[in-house]
Amino acid sequence: MNGEFYNYLPLWATLLPVLATIPLFFIERRSPMFRDFFAIAVSGLTFLTVAIMYPYIAAHGTIGVSYPQVFPPFGISFQVDLLGYLLALIASAVWFLATLYSRVYMQHEGGGNRFYPFLLLSLGGCIGVFTASDFFSLFVFFELMSLSAYVLVVHEETEAAMAAGYKYLILTLIGGLALFFGIVIAYELAGNVDIRPGHFLFTEHTRLAFVAFLSFLVGFGMKMGIFPMHVWLPDAHPVAPSPASALLSGIMLKTGAYGLLRVVFNIYGADFIQEAGWHIILLVLATITIFLGSAVAIAQPDIKRRLAYSSIGQMGYILLGIGLLTVTGLQGGIFHIFSHAVMKSTLFFAAGAIIYKTGKRRVAEMKGIGYQLPVTLACFSIASFAMIGIPPLNGFISKLLLSMGSLDAGMPFFVVLLIVSSLMNGIYYLPIVINAYFGAKPDEEKMGGWRRLFTELKPSMLIPICLLALACLIFGLFPGNFPLKWAEIIATMLIGGG
């Protein structure tokens, strides 16, 4: 076990939340309060563990360790490069905020004894996905995350939740098995499934390679919610408790996007895909997904369902970024992974706060809610504007980059697509915001003034929302936008550097 301490950081970031479930299991029988704090502490610690990796990653490029004796012949190995780091960072941060948010929210929901261990378990899985250095480890953590998330989805145990959960479970399993198929083929052909820069597993355009590509696409696309595989998403995300929905939509979808990035740029390589013309598949799917997600979202009366469909549309952007195969487009895609995580988490947290406070789920009922929950709604509005792509918010940057990328690729059609879809985003987000502020006059006497309303939302719920909304602003057109810079570095590395 020699070797530098920092090489073990990815391992610890993954294992910490997983192992913490064991003490949590005993703690939660003693005191619910201690349980909540323990969970917050663990997720905070995980965030810190991820955060302190940065100097070493900046210095060494990648850090990691491998354990070939676990799961032979593949072995479990961890390795973090900048792409993995960026996603692990945002994942652990949002997770920490979600845990913080859950403290109050879950008191209302109940069943925290089951919620927290699986929240941490899925955090471990999620970090594991981003820190895995080969596809097999990635697959293992992917399954861990997906299966733990099932418990989060069915948390309320209503009829609808069980039905949605079952759909989620079966489709996740299908996705997992497709992934398994792809990995087995890759291993059989290449002899390893490592994720290393410039190390491509497939070098010939065989039918088997194409089958593997399709199964990877199905596997990761299932998680990502790409068009034909999205059917579970609008059911599963809304029924989960709001912090879990935020994580499902904000972070867990991104594991699929991350996997697809690795598949396209690390397993096959941009040139290979370009030659084979398989990126057309991605682009077609992206187009359908963007349209479908945005169009169906308009028709949704339930706010969380609307957000879920919006996620499908947004994942289409990321897929577009991957499929364009240009540096700028990819940069936009990667940056959109980051910015969508921030935006969608804000939106779900805020929607959860509304449901928590008022019990209203339907958009039509939310008239005048801005007077009741001014700060929450302000954050919601910021995130909505970011979604629509209004400058200077982060959503604008990703759309801009994606447009530039599609021009680079010589496909101006996608610029039109982006504009149209932004318009559609506007159609389904703006009514919520407008309704909230201008839909109905506040009955001030009945409400008892502004201040009382403001104090009713506890700070542990409000702070995560505010922080995330602030992130939408900061990582927009402001100087020092490090994710944007990183995205550029990563995009260059993935496409240019091979």
Partner: protein, 490 residues
């Protein structure tokens, strides 16, 4: 040291015969006595493993008569792997027996149960190393008798009927095995597998029909006994009605040993080249594929939990057959791995299901709602088994499926990877609802813990731990299976 494997067999036989006498001794609990013997057996098979690892494989000739006349017992890696599986699972099931039997058999018949148990264990151990058709036949018969008796010992007409069906079909299988043996003997003049194997390539030119018929008879005969798909009709009745420990033994071990015999006949008598020349691998693959689907679909339709597990065995057995019929080293390795892993998983599932029945008397799947709140540990163990069956990474079932998938690719037939994947999904469709019903879908009341006797819960948990351990650190087991596969297909 070389005597160890046969000492295990002799010890078990001696115990089996001594138990009726010892049962009359007051103050001696035959169950605990049996536990000691079974532990000794497990220790001896572990010692055999270490010995073989150090000194290499060897053959044993009881009575010091060398092959053409005498009996040969081959202690190779297959044997070592199987001995470990048999004795490990047997020991854990025996733990379970001690508490459970009083609710399953007539009072006073527990000692008979242990006798039959050891008779079965002795014959299984012997079958694992039998290297001539004579020994195979003898111990096949002992095994069949003991297995039928283990089903019929439950004082219910249903069990007796199932056992009768099992016995009749098994006898049919034995008859075919013997006829096949006689056909091979007719052409080669030997009963020893190694000697037959040497002579067969010449013999096949002279009497191709005899050998083909013999191979067909072997596969059908042993296929009946190991429940290869269209010949499985006896299995669901016998395995679901039997006492729980018997179900675990039958599904976990008995069926597998006949597959091992088939494997020995295919690879050590006929040899892979001969086997590939005739279209029998394709036929087995076809049966296995149909069996995997049919077994899973039938399992989906079941309402009784033990019956569902029995149908699942039909499908799982076909995996092992598939691994062998792929005739690639990795495929065989996967098949052998699945022998071990399925033994662990299925006995885990049967014992856990038996624990539900023991405590609550519920056999219907739909009535198991909320069982996770009453018996959390047992249900957790059941979930481990179920997830392992589905093939979730981290559980041992995944490893065997992975290896089988590699085997299929190595044999250049990716179609079977798809078969494995679809069947995993089907497994999920019938296993996961039980887990979900157990834990979710009703208001989360506080735990109302129905405590189980330690001797019932301990083996269940031990099997779950073994499952997870070999799911995460399968290295040693894979190595063992690889060596065993090399014995068959160098």
């Amino acid at each position: 040291m070389t005597h160890l494997p046969i000492i295990v067999v002799a010890l078990y036989l001696a115990t089996a015969f001594a138990l009726p006498l010892l049962g009359r001794v007051k103050k001696l609990h035959t169950g605990y006595f049996s536990l000691c013997i079974a532990t000794a057996g497990l220790v001896m098979s572990l010692l055999t493993l270490f010995y073989v690892a150090r000194e290499g494989t060897f053959s044993y000739f009881p009575g010091d008569w060398p092959p053409p006349v005498g009996i040969e017992l081959s202690v190779d890696w297959v044997t070592v792997l199987m001995h470990l599986t048999i004795n490990l699972i047997g020991l854990l099931v025996l733990f379970y027996c001690i508490e459970d039997l009083s609710s399953e058999v007539r009072p006073g018949h527990e000692t008979w149960y242990y006798t039959l148990f050891f008779l079965l264990m002795a014959s299984l151990n012997a079958l694992a190393m039998a290297f001539d058709m004579f020994t195979v036949f003898v111990f096949t018969e002992i095994c069949t008798l003991a297995a039928c008796a283990l089903v019929a010992i439950k004082p219910k007409a249903l069990c007796v009927e199932a056992a009768f069906k099992y016995l009749i079909l098994s006898t049919l299988g034995s008859g075919m095995l013997l006829l096949g043996t006689s056909l091979v003997y007719m052409v080669t003049g030997h009963l020893n597998m190694g000697l037959i194997g040497q002579l067969l390539p010449q013999a096949i030119d002279l009497y191709p029909l005899n050998i083909l018929i013999a191979l067909g008879l072997f596969i059908i005969g042993l296929g009946i006994k190991s429940a290869l798909f269209p010949l499985h009709t006896w299995l669901p009745d016998a395995h679901s009605s039997a006492p729980t420990p018997s179900s675990a033994l039958l599904s976990g071990l008995v069926v597998k040993l006949f597959i091992i015999v088939v494997g020995r006949i295919i690879f050590q008598v006929f040899g892979s080249e001969l086997f590939l020349m005739i279209p029998i691998p394709e036929v087995i693959l076809l049966f296995a594929t149909f069996g995997i689907f049919a077994g899973s679909l039938m399992a989906i339709a079941q309402t009784d939990i033990k019956r569902m597990l029995a149908y699942s065995s039909v499908a799982q057995v076909c995996y092992i057959y598939m691994g062998m019929a792929l005739v690639s080293q990795t495929g065989i390795q996967g098949g052998l791995l699945h022998v071990f892993n399925h033994a662990v998983m299925k006995s885990l599932l049967f014992l856990a299901a038996g624990a539900f029945i023991y405590k609550t008397g519920i056999r219907k799947i739909e009535d198991l709602v909320g069982i996770g709140y009453r018996m959390p540990l047992t249900m957790a163990a059941f979930s481990v088994g179920a997830l392992s069956m589905v093939g979730i990474p981290g559980f041992s079932g995944f490893i065997s499926k992975l290896t089988l998938a590699f085997g299929a690719l190595e044999a250049e037939s990716p179609f079977f990877v798809v078969v494995i994947i679809i069947s995993s999904l089907l497994n999920a469709v019938y296993y996961l609802p039980i887990v979900l019903r157990g834990f979710f879908g009703r208001p989360a009341t506080e735990f109302q813990w129905d405590k189980l006797p330690l001797l019932i819960i301990a083996p269940v948990l031990a099997l779950a731990v073994i499952n997870i351990f070999f799911g995460i650190f399968p290295g040693s087991l894979q190595e063992l299976a690889r060596l065993a596969a090399e014995t068959w297909l160098p």
